[in-house]
């Protein structure tokens, strides 16, 4: 597609349930990022993929959070045993990292709003 697509756009779940959020990046973008955004805050980094591998997962808050990108395109963010504090908008972004020019512009999706009751 022309942009980054995220599904679902909204997800309401109960505390303790398992959730999967999907991201379809721009075709050809090798870099993929997951961020989390709470109300009134800026996006907070979770994990970064370069191709199929997680190049940096230092932002994942705990082991309940996990993300995969098995074929280097679509990515899934998985949250186990959800807690009310996990409620936020989960943003996915992709980019062509072209460090020769020093540019790294991320294109974001609209986000998946997760509400944990």
């Amino acid at each position: 597609g022309a942009g980054v697509s995220q599904t679902p756009s909204n997800k309401v779940t109960e505390k303790g349930k398992y959730v999967e959020l999907r991201c379809d990046p721009i075709s050809g973008h090798t870099a993929l990022y997951w961020y989390r955004q709470s109300l009134g805050q800026g996006p907070e980094f979770l994990i970064y993929f370069q191709g199929t591998g997680a190049a940096d997962d230092s932002g994942l808050p705990n082991d309940r959070f996990f993300a995969v990108r098995p074929e280097g395109s679509v990515s899934t963010l998985k949250i186990q045993r959800t807690e009310r504090g996990d409620s936020a908008v989960y943003l996915c972004a992709s980019s062509l990292t072209v460090w020769r020019s020093g540019a790294n512009v991320l294109t974001f999706g609209a986000g998946s709003r997760l509400t944990v009751l």
């Binding site: 961020y35 800026g42 907070e44 370069q50 940096d56 974001f108």
Partner: protein
């Protein structure tokens, strides 16, 4: 810890005025900065970027100024329009890191 932050959480202007949104950063190793605009219900959208070897960069109606001496970044929007109403974030890349770090954001409100 080191972080990117913004001076003003909310900025209100009249349509047609020029807007200036400020951003302070504390990491002297930051060498690439981007301004993003986020409208309600949407993801952040790229506006303009600047590398640390530049002091100024201009786009269409927008100018970014970088003052490395005081670690300050600003976004100037000329002839602000109601469609410019959004939250604006500055983000920095530290060194060769591929991971932008975002500040809290400034909400720009443009009154017709």
């Amino acid at each position: 810890g080191e972080s990117v932050g913004l001076h003003l959480p909310t900025l209100s202007v009249q349509e047609g005025d020029n807007s200036i949104i400020n951003c302070a950063y504390s990491n002297s190793a930051s060498d690439y900065f981007i301004w993003y605009k986020q409208e309600s219900g949407k993801g952040p959208q790229f506006i303009i970027d600047i590398r640390s070897n530049m002091d100024k960069r201009q786009g269409q109606r927008v100018t970014v100024l970088l003052n490395k001496t005081v670690k300050h970044l600003s976004l100037q929007i000329a002839a602000t329009q109601p469609g410019d109403s959004a939250v604006y974030f500055c983000a920095e890349n530290i060194g060769r890191s591929y991971i932008p770090t975002f500040g809290r954001g400034t909400s720009l409100i443009v009154h017709p």
